[in-house]
Amino acid sequence: MKDKKSGLTLQFIPFSQLSHLNSTERIKKLLKVIMANKIIVIQGRLKAEEETRLIEDTMVMVGSVKGFKGIELAVISPNPEDRTLGDKVKYFVANALVGQTDALTIIGPASAIKEMKKDPTKLEVMMSRKVFGYRQTFYTL
């Protein structure tokens, strides 16, 4: 008999898995995971243009893939004001060379994530009731 238990998968994508890809390949890779109803945690963040590209591609899919409602997306990164001058220089150089790797990006299908609430100190991810059998679960990152 087929197991009817359904869970939620968090897929961690280290920066090294995305750094060698161009924007189109990155978006394609992320959308593939999202369409498998998984939540992605990326080390680092996408470029602003890639984020809009992801929104655009997502909107095309909302109209063409049945039951797909879009995504929830949030980025959490350290407060720049907490950095010392030395850290700021190091951050600037590292950012220019390899991109912003000290951030975390969370992306998931809107059918699994009900809402993401962000403030400067925390990110709350509220899961859809459907995913957890009508229980509301809160995660704080």
């Binding site: 602003a48 243009e49 809009t52 655009e56 909107m59 909302v62 109209g63 929830e72 997306l73 962000k118």
Partner: protein, 214 residues
């Protein structure tokens, strides 16, 4: 003869540069229901006597980019002509069931959802065709939404000047300081597009913004 041609050429060049600076394509961007069309309407009514579009409590009322050409705004002794570009609200998800709460029929809600997705795509495409942008945020809502950060990030990447407007300051829950804290690098102007509160300061900021247009 040659001198005249050269003279005319330079005259045309200078006039083109001058006219470009005086006719600015001003985009209104932001999340749904922040008051982009209300603000565009307020500006149009103030300077042309006509409105640009309809407003509604139901999100995604604006589902197509709307324009108003040649809106001449005067501030002190200066005047500038703008093309106002009112865009649909940008969101990362669209669920037709959300529209059912506003007593729309299922078919109406589904049609609205489909048009809203197309509107978001159109709004993003228009980022390439605006000279300056007013990002309209609802000052009663949490400003740290990724959509706001993504919009502003894109404008910065494209080197498009940005003015952040905290709308709905007439509401009790309004909190401009939260918006200022979220976007410390930008000027934040608190207004009520509905009641026309603080529009003088807004127009002054628009003139300052237009100076940054390249």
């Amino acid at each position: 003869m040659v001198i005249r041609i050269i003279k005319n050429f330079f005259k045309r060049m200078i006039s083109e540069i001058f006219s470009k600076k005086k006719n600015i394509s001003l985009g209104f961007y932001g999340p749904p229901n922040a008051g982009k069309t209300s603000l565009a309407n307020r500006i149009c009514k103030d300077w042309t006597g006509e409105e640009i579009g309809t407003v509604s409590k139901i999100p995604h009322e604006t589902r197509k980019v709307q324009f108003k050409e040649k809106v001449e705004i005067k501030y002190k002794e200066n005047s500038l002509t703008f093309k106002l570009v009112d865009t649909p609200g940008i969101a990362t998800k669209i669920d037709y069931e959300d529209f059912l709460k506003f007593k729309l029929r299922k078919k109406q809600a589904q049609a609205r959802a489909k048009e809203a997705t197309q509107g978001i795509i159109e709004a993003i495409k228009w980022l390439d065709d605006v000279d300056a942008v007013v990002v309209v945020l609802d000052s009663t809502e949490n400003p740290y939404s990724q959509v706001n950060i993504t919009i502003i990030g894109n404008l910065v990447a494209r080197k498009i000047p940005v003015l952040v407007v905290a709308n709905k300051i007439d509401m009790k829950k309004s909190d401009i300081k939260k918006i200022e804290a979220a976007f410390p690098e930008y000027d934040v102007i608190g207004i009520s597009a509905k009641y026309g509160t603080n529009m003088e300061e807004f127009y002054e900021s628009i003139f300052k913004l237009s100076k940054k247009v390249r």
